[in-house]
Each structure stands twice: as structure tokens, then as C-alpha cells.
């Protein structure tokens, strides 16, 4: 079984790295081990995603599943993990005062990646919940790693809000189990497949209640408005590589849960309610994202609200549904993971160079940092959905899916809000790039190659995906759409 072996290697590598860092407490060793682990994860995740098209594969007594939607999120996670590990080598060396604790940072980093990877392959709804809970526990310490009062505040809000939200998801999970017990008897294994198979006979009222609880619960973790309040704080106060992981990997893994429950709720005769609520959350996230992006003053908070916006777009894609909607949403996940990593890396570099998180203190990026400035600006254009980058294509597909499935109102809202975000977001970049400053001297921190190379690595595929949508990818998405369409045609 090639797939089983690949999966095993992929899951063992970060876990081993996390343990090794604890035993050998040396900064250089830890960054090396983490980087190697992330490279192994990426190398195994690519064939895993390709092979997963052959149908869902189950391992270890059905507790683990490799299916296309899950493997796709695994791939996004692996990419972000690799890019962020590369970037972390350069970035964390800039934080001289943290040098003593760097081993613990890398240990937690690898453990965080491991928990996110685990959550993407869990086949049991209860174990999935536990994996998501674990991601919170590990990442809390990464959010509060810098020990500044702001970081601790962000970590506190993060753990309290997420735990409260995720407990709603637990209630929903328990109620879904109860739904299923009328069909399957009092004791059964709560895998996604058994739930889906039992769904048509479930009581629609109870299934709807359970779905709404799960949606709000995991929606808190995804950062859908109005449950997004932890997100800007956690993203802006954690070290830049962690911000990238939170945004590009963690949010997707929670979205996966919503999508799986959506399929079940749909099969339980609740299609209209399930889809309309997800679409409504998506539109609301776009609205909140747009409002806060326009009036934002912090550079990393700007990126964080952009994550809220893009999670809204992905929620819209899945909410519209149909082959087009699912394909667009999955494609958008990948593009967003690449692009948001690029944006957080750029923001981290700029933050370190200017010694400030405030947009108003950042000037003349263009003339001071021509190369990485250009990369970051290209990323900014891409993230607002400008052609010729991947996000333009995926947003267009989602818009089309909306028309096709009869959600015209949501499509118009989305289009208007995306334009507002385009203007607001790029306006901040205009002030940072082209407004002259009061000749305030900056200590140009040594931004090493480690900090710039991952930006190249993220931008290149983004550009490729924008001009060329590989046909193999399209076939993959169609298979995923069929898997997610489940019982309904």
C-alpha cells in the first residue's frame, strides 16, 4: 500500500521533529530538523493528493481516511508548512531575545503542523473534533510565544473564544450521533460514511439543529464573521511564520469539517437551510472583512481581515455547491494558502525592517527594498483578486457557480465587496510604497535570503495557476465534487 506508507511517513515526520527538538535543545538543530520534516511532509503530500483520486482509502480500523477533499487540505497544509519553516529560519534569527527558547518554538511548530495534518485525515467525527481541539492547544502557545502583553492578550482571547466555539461543535457532534442512533442503533462508529449513509433517514429537525451548532462551532475556528473576533488578534500578534500557518493551514482544516457536515445535512433533507446559512456567513465575512480592511491601521491586522474575507469566499464556494462551486472553493483554498503565506512573510520582513506594525510608519518600501517590495506588491495585487494570478481565476469560478445555482443576490454582494476590498487594500499599499517619509532613518535589519526565497516560491505557482489551469487538476476537482455531493446527485 503506497498510500498507507506515504501517509505514515507524512504523519511521523513532524511528530518526530517535535520530539527531537525537545530532547536536543539547540536552536540550529531545531530549525534544521523542522525544515527537513516540512520538506518530507511536502514531498509525501503531493503524491498522496494525486493518488487519493482513486477513491477513499481507509486505514487503521477506519479511523483514518484519505479522500480527495481531505488530501487537498493536507496538500495546502504541507505547502504552507514548508514555506513557513523556510521563512522561520531567517525570521526567528532576527528575534535575538528569543534565541534561548527557539527549540521550544520549533518543537511547538512541528507539533502544530502535525495536529493540523492529523485533523485532515480523521475519519471519525469525534476524533476530528479532538484533532481540531489539539490544534488550538498547541497553537495557543505559539500565538503567545513572544510574551509581550499584546501577544498574551491575543493568546488568551484565542483560547477562550475558540474553546467556547468548539464546545458548540462538540454539542453538534453529540446531537448528530443521537440523530444517527435512531437509524443505526445505540452504538456505532461515527465515521463520515456511516453518518452520510444514515442521513436520509435522520429526523430533519434534529439534523438541522445539529448542523447549525456544528457550523457555528467550526465556523469560529474558520474565522467566519461574526465569530471571527479572535482571528485578527491571534494573526497579528504571533510570529510571522505562525501567522502564515494559522491563516493558510489551520483555517482550511476547520473548513473541511464544515464541508463534511454540509454534505450530511444536505442528505438529511436540509439542503436549503444548510446552504443558505453557509452562504449568509460567507457574505457576512466578506462584509466585515471589507469594512475593517478599508479602515485598518496595522499591517498584520490588514492581512488577518483579508483572511476573514477569503474564508468568506471559500464558504460561498462550498455554500453554492455544485461541481463549479466546489472546484472553485478548493482551488481558492490552495491559492489563498500560497498567497497569504507570501503576504505574511512580506509583512514580517517589513515589520522587522521598520520596527513597527503600523501602516503609517512604513514608507518608501519601493525604493528601499526593490526586490522583496516587488514580490510583496505582486502578492497584494494577487490577494485582491487581480489577474493574472490564481485567485482571480478561482473567484471568477465561484461567481459563476453562484449564478448557476441561483444565488444571484450573494453573487452581487460578493462582487461589490471584492471591489471595495480591492480599492481599500491597495490604497494601504499605495501609502506604504509611494508616499515619501520624513526622512526617518531606519536600521535596515538584515533580511536574509531565508526570508525572501519563500516569497519567490509562493509567488511562482500563484502566477502559473493564474494563467494555466492544469486539466488534471480539473479532473481532480470533479472527483472531489462527486465525493462531496454524496448521496444527492
Amino acid at each position: 500500500m503506497t498510500i498507507g506508507l506515504l501517509l505514515l511517513i507524512m504523519l511521523i515526520a513532524p511528530a518526530a521533529a517535535a520530539l527531537l527538538c525537545i530532547f536536543i535543545r539547540k536552536a540550529e538543530f531545531a530549525e534544521g530538523v523542522n525544515l527537513i520534516a516540512s520538506a518530507i511532509v511536502l514531498i509525501t503530500a503531493i503524491p498522496l493528493t494525486v493518488l487519493s483520486a482513486g477513491g477513499p482509502y481507509r486505514f487503521w480500523d477506519d479511523y483514518v481516511v484519505v479522500d480527495l477533499p481531505g488530501a487537498w487540505v493536507t496538500l495546502c497544509t504541507a505547502i504552507v508548512y514548508f514555506l513557513a519553516s523556510t521563512y522561520a529560519v531567517g525570521y526567528m534569527r532576527l528575534l535575538k531575545e528569543e534565541n534561548e527558547k527557539l527549540w521550544s518554538f520549533y518543537s511547538l511548530f512541528a507539533a502544530f503542523a502535525w495536529t493540523v495534518l492529523m485533523s485532515t485525515v480523521m475519519n471519525n467525527a469525534g476524533l476530528y473534533w479532538i484533532a481540531i481541539e489539539l490544534t488550538t492547544l498547541v497553537s495557543t502557545f505559539l500565538v503567545g510565544f513572544e510574551r509581550a502583553a499584546e501577544s498574551i492578550e491575543a493568546a488568551w482571547k484565542y483560547i477562550i473564544i475558540i474553546s467556547a466555539g468548539i464546545s458548540l461543535a462538540l454539542l453538534g457532534t453529540v446531537l448528530f450521533y443521537w440523530c444517527g442512533s435512531f437509524v443505526l442503533g445505540p452504538t456505532y462508529e461515527m465515521t463520515w460514511d456511516t453518518l452520510l449513509a444514515a442521513a436520509p433517514k435522520m429526523n430533519p429537525a434534529l439534523a438541522a439543529l445539529s448542523y447549525l451548532l456544528v457550523l457555528v462551532g467550526y465556523g469560529t475556528k474558520v474565522g467566519l464573521a461574526p465569530m471571527h473576533t479572535w482571528l485578527p488578534d491571534a494573526h497579528s500578534e504571533s510570529p510571522a511564520p505562525i501567522s502564515a500557518m494559522l491563516s493558510g493551514a489551520l483555517l482550511n482544516s476547520a473548513m473541511l469539517g464544515i464541508v463534511r457536515y454540509l454534505t450530511i445535512a444536505e442528505a438529511a433533507q436540509g439542503e436549503r437551510l444548510a446552504r443558505v446559512t453557509l452562504v449568509a456567513f460567507g457574505v457576512l465575512s466578506l462584509l466585515v472583512g471589507a469594512l475593517f480592511i478599508v479602515r485598518q491601521s496595522g499591517i498584520k491586522r490588514l492581512m488577518a481581515y483579508s483572511s476573514v474575507e477569503h474564508m468568506g469566499v471559500i464558504a460561498l464556494g462550498f455554500g453554492f455547491g455544485g461541481p463549479l462551486g466546489i472546484a472553485g472553493a478548493l482551488y481558492h483554498m490552495l491559492n489563498h494558502s500560497l498567497n497569504k503565506s507570501l503576504m505574511f512573510f512580506g509583512a514580517g520582513n517589513v515589520m522587522r525592517s521598520y520596527g513597527s506594525k503600523e501602516i503609517r510608519n512604513i514608507h518608501d518600501v519601493w525604493s528601499r527594498f526593490p526586490v522583496q517590495g516587488a514580490l510583496w506588491l505582486a502578492g497584494a495585487a494577487a490577494i485582491t483578486g487581480a489577474p493574472p494570478f490564481g485567485l482571480f481565476l478561482s473567484e471568477l469560478v465561484i461567481l459563476r457557480a453562484g449564478f448557476e445555482r441561483g444565488y444571484d443576490w450573494a453573487v452581487y454582494m460578493m462582487a461589490v465587496l471584492l471591489i471595495v476590498i480591492f480599492i481599500g487594500f491597495l490604497n494601504h499599499f499605495r501609502t506604504m510604497y509611494f508616499e515619501a517619509d520624513g526622512a526617518r532613518g531606519i536600521a535596515a535589519a538584515a533580511i536574509s535570503r531565508w526570508c525572501v526565497t519563500p516569497m519567490w516560491l509562493a509567488l511562482a505557482p500563484l502566477l502559473v495557476f493564474g494563467v494555466w489551469w492544469p486539466s488534471g487538476l480539473w479532473d481532480h476537482f470533479m472527483i472531489a465534487a462527486r465525493m462531496l455531493a454524496g448521496a444527492s446527485p
Binding site: 469525534g126 476524533l127 473534533w129 479532538i130 481541539e133 489539539l134 492547544l137 495557543t140 502557545f141 503567545g144 510574551r147 509581550a148 502583553a149 499584546e150 498574551i152 492578550e153 491575543a154 493568546a155 488568551w156 482571547k157 483560547i159 477562550i160 474553546s163 467556547a164 464546545s167 458548540l168 462538540l170 454539542l171 457532534t173 453529540v174 446531537l175 450521533y177 443521537w178 442512533s181 435512531f182 442503533g185 445505540p186 452504538t187 456505532y188 461515527m190 429526523n203 430533519p204 429537525a205 434534529l206 439543529l209 485578527p232 488578534d233 497579528s236 500578534e237 475593517f292 479602515r295 485598518q296 491601521s297 496595522g298 491586522r301
Partner: protein, 226 residues
């Protein structure tokens, strides 16, 4: 165990315990003193542990005895002890920053219960279980959830927030024992995980104190806005 053909004695015992733990949630809601919170929480956990054992006895689920022991040990003894030590060390005896007076909070809590009852009644009716203990279990489950959120919203002492989170989960345990006693593995793991959450919260809390904020009230957490 089928909810529709339940031994009447078992049904009354379950109802009694569900109502008792709801009452204890109200004790927590209506008190200003952190120690009272803690005692109420510990008592609630013990009631849930006894409930697990009774459900295990009547429904023939031997693994529920194990869960009852875990619940009593972890949630009934170990967690309250840890929290009690923190209360002593921090020297915060009572909630000072409440937004809502305890008396008003009790009234809001009562409305939460009414709302939960309405939801549970509808769901129960559509399942054909309206006259059974299931409706009561669902009511208590949902209302403890809402009361937990109410406590999170109106209390600002860090410890109250941790306790509110635990109440959120107590509600789920209680309901799960009655509604889905055949779902054991998840529950026993979750009991252990709760402990981890609380320990993680402590970690953050202590770091926060070290960072020199000098207070454990979340009202002071207002650096990050917008």
C-alpha cells in the same frame, strides 16, 4: 437503552439529577464568590459522575462506570483542587467586574432555560419523544450551554471564564450520558482533554501575570481593537 421504554424509577432518577445540575449552574450564575463557584462546579461534576454510573447500571453499559470514575476524579476532585490553589495564590476572592448583577443574571438565565425548553420541546415532538426524559435532557443540555455563555459574557475574572468553559462542557456530558450512552470513547477522551485545556489556560494566565499586566480581569484586555 431505549428512551421510550425506560423504567419509571430510572427516568425519575435521571430527571432529578439533570434538574439538580441545572440548579447548580444557577448557583454559579448567582454567586459573586469564586469559592462558591468552585464548590458548585465540583458538586455538579459529582452529580454527572453518579448519573453516568446510574445510566451504566440501567442501560447495561459497563464502560460508563469507568467514565464515572474518571469524571469524579478529574472533574470532581483534581480540577477544582487546581482551581482552588489558583484562587488562593491570586488572592481574588470574588468577582468585582461583573457587567450584570447576579440577580439580573439569574433572570436572564431563566429566559435561557425557557428558550431551551421551547427548542427541546419542538425537537422532541418531531422525534415522537415528547413525554420522555429526552426532552428534559435536551433542555438541560442546551440551557447549561446558554448559561455557560452568559457567564462568559458577564464575568471578567479569568478564573470565572475558565469555569464557564467547564460548565459549557458539563452540559454536554450530562446530556450525552442520557441521550447517547453508547458513545463512550469520545467522552472519556474528552474528559482528559478538558484537563489539558485548563492547564493550557493556566499557562497563558500565568504568563499574562508575568508580563506585568497586574490583573486577571479580561476587562483590561483592550490593547487589540479594530
Amino acid at each position: 437503552m431505549v428512551l421510550t421504554h425506560l423504567d419509571p424509577l430510572a427516568a425519575s432518577v435521571f430527571s432529578l439529577m439533570a434538574i439538580a445540575s441545572l440548579l447548580l449552574a444557577f448557583v454559579m450564575l448567582g454567586s459573586r464568590w469564586l469559592n462558591n463557584y468552585l464548590y458548585a462546579f465540583a458538586a455538579e461534576s459529582w452529580i454527572i459522575a453518579i448519573l453516568s454510573a446510574t445510566v451504566g447500571f440501567y442501560g447495561n453499559y459497563p464502560e460508563l462506570y469507568f467514565i464515572a470514575i474518571l469524571t469524579a476524579l478529574f472533574r470532581g476532585l483534581f480540577l477544582p483542587y487546581l482551581l482552588w490553589r489558583i484562587v488562593r495564590r491570586l488572592n481574588v476572592a470574588r468577582e468585582i467586574h461583573e457587567i450584570l448583577q447576579p440577580s439580573s443574571a439569574l433572570v436572564v438565565g431563566a429566559f435561557c432555560v425557557l428558550f431551551s425548553l421551547a427548542v427541546a420541546y419542538r425537537v422532541g415532538a418531531s422525534l415522537g419523544l415528547s413525554a420522555t426524559v429526552a426532552v428534559l435532557a435536551l433542555t438541560v443540555m442546551l440551557s447549561m450551554k446558554l448559561i455557560g455563555f452568559l457567564m462568559l459574557a458577564v464575568r471578567h475574572e479569568a478564573l470565572s471564564q475558565i469555569l464557564a468553559l467547564l460548565v459549557l462542557e458539563n452540559g454536554i456530558f450530562l446530556g450525552a450520558q442520557i441521550l447517547v450512552p453508547g458513545m463512550p470513547l469520545l467522552i472519556e477522551i474528552v474528559i482528559l482533554f478538558d484537563l489539558l485545556i485548563v492547564v493550557a489556560c493556566f499557562g497563558v494566565l500565568i504568563q499574562y501575570l508575568l508580563a506585568g499586566a497586574g490583573t486577571t480581569s479580561s476587562l483590561e484586555l483592550k490593547r487589540l481593537v479594530g
